[in-house]
Symmetry: C2
Subunit: 335 residues, 2 copies
Amino acid sequence: MKKGKRTWIFANKPSLISGAAVGAQMEKEGPMAPSFDYFFDDMRAGKLSFEMAERAFLQKACNIALEKAALQKEDIDCFLAGDLMNQIISSSFTARDLPCAYLGQFGACSTSAQALLVGAALIDSGFAEKVLCATVSHNASAEKQFRFPNEYGIQKPPYSQFTVNAAGAGILSSEKASVCITAATPGRVIDIGITDAFNLGAAMAPAAFDTIKTHLEDMALNFGHYDLIITGDLGRTGHECLMDILSDAKMEFDSKRILDGGLLIYNTHTQNVFSGGSGCGCSAAVLFVHYLPLLQQKEIRRLLFVATGALMSPVSMQQGESIPCIAHAVSLEVM
Amino acid sequence: MKKGKRTWIFANKPSLISGAAVGAQMEKEGPMAPSFDYFFDDMRAGKLSFEMAERAFLQKACNIALEKAALQKEDIDCFLAGDLMNQIISSSFTARDLPCAYLGQFGACSTSAQALLVGAALIDSGFAEKVLCATVSHNASAEKQFRFPNEYGIQKPPYSQFTVNAAGAGILSSEKASVCITAATPGRVIDIGITDAFNLGAAMAPAAFDTIKTHLEDMALNFGHYDLIITGDLGRTGHECLMDILSDAKMEFDSKRILDGGLLIYNTHTQNVFSGGSGCGCSAAVLFVHYLPLLQQKEIRRLLFVATGALMSPVSMQQGESIPCIAHAVSLEVM
């Protein structure tokens, strides 16, 4: 790292060797469905509670990621995971079944990228050879915890987002493979003073902008370097905000090459998801089962993954606080 | 890292150059009081809510740690912090005032060691030059969230612990200094099936044992290598459990050189704290303002800091789950 820069450059090019995602009915009806590895028939996944179901989603994604890489649990050195549940119980209870080190991550919906960049740093520096990075979210457990149980039927504004029922898991390795993490830019907290907990896309867009701008400046790159920039999850409102901020900043970019996980995972015209998807599992699923294969098949060669998180809690909202937001960027390139 | 080992050895010896801790009235009446940097007169710290007070504690500790190191906020590359609040709002809102990268950590009361070991890895590998590691806990906000508001006056069992009102902050640096982090052992999750949320000391003791044993084996050391092992926070019950487990394992250790942060921060005979202190801020405060100076003055030369965390949530307890626990170890040595 050079003084005054926030970007980490990975000299040893940690590889992303495997990715998996699981979802439920809503995700099965979305445009990303063919890429998913598994769908649970019901949101309870046969469990007694939505929280237990969320954990089952995460465990399933981790197991499939291991299978795809032909690895056993015992081959993993470190499990980096997080979720939206209070005290990230989905991750910690999943860690109980793994014999390796566990470091709980919290970055709300930015957790997928946070886990990847910490994992890449651990592999790059030789502290681990295989790192399992995973996140999950569940619509019913999240709504119940952050807002109201779904059964109440609370009306939502059009700029709100739908927390996905999905888990994504990826395995980083010190072995050479076609898709590598070449650099990463951890985010800083940006809070523009939004106090409406439904308006997360708009709250997070400035953080996405700050991290993308910092990443390009630190690396002396322009937008053209990346075939795609995948943000996640700003939804339609947040994505439009980001386009406006980029335009206002007079940056040269191709809007067709900046996509958002929250808009990719659902059909926002036919599925009742308001401004799009959100939740820890959304951007992780989109990356691990849709864009990782495209990179592996060399259909795209350079992707900047920018996961965004809104770091408020129900208590902070009730106490009138605004929403601190963050975005972490991970650069994936075909070697 | 050698295959099959969990311990990270830091070749570049990241240094711990500054530490600070703040508390409130209970901590001011405890045996560690002379070491603390600052005490808030009231638990609300002049704020409107206990949650806002908790944040003020964390901000104060961070500011003092910066002052002690003669550093500005702008000198910090990365802020690694966590707390017990849902969505770790104390840490994320504190990060809002810092211009650097922020990676939210969650390991319950093990967060202090988790932040130190991730920070040491980032410095050792050149991804950061200065890392601010901090944790906080607040009795009233924690009781309200995890159990009942203090005003209810719920009776507690003698093996329960008292969440400290304290924040601890430490600064890691790539510059050479007298106290270095030479190695660290990230923990794995251990769950022995305890379902009583007051009995956290007993639940966490096996995790402390597992991490200490793994650390000593990975490093080919015996207990005698360390002048002190500071666990945190097992309390009296958990500490006694750990002594029993060590004895049962036929390990050779000097019980006088294994101390617990939860027993050090309060006088458990005269203060009404049941089995001792707990909370993210407890072990951090004890390390940063009491043992760091002892290392700097070379009164002790080798200390193993083993912070323990109980990773349940109120929801997981209500759903009848047992308590997954973890312990992370950090080796501090005088160079």
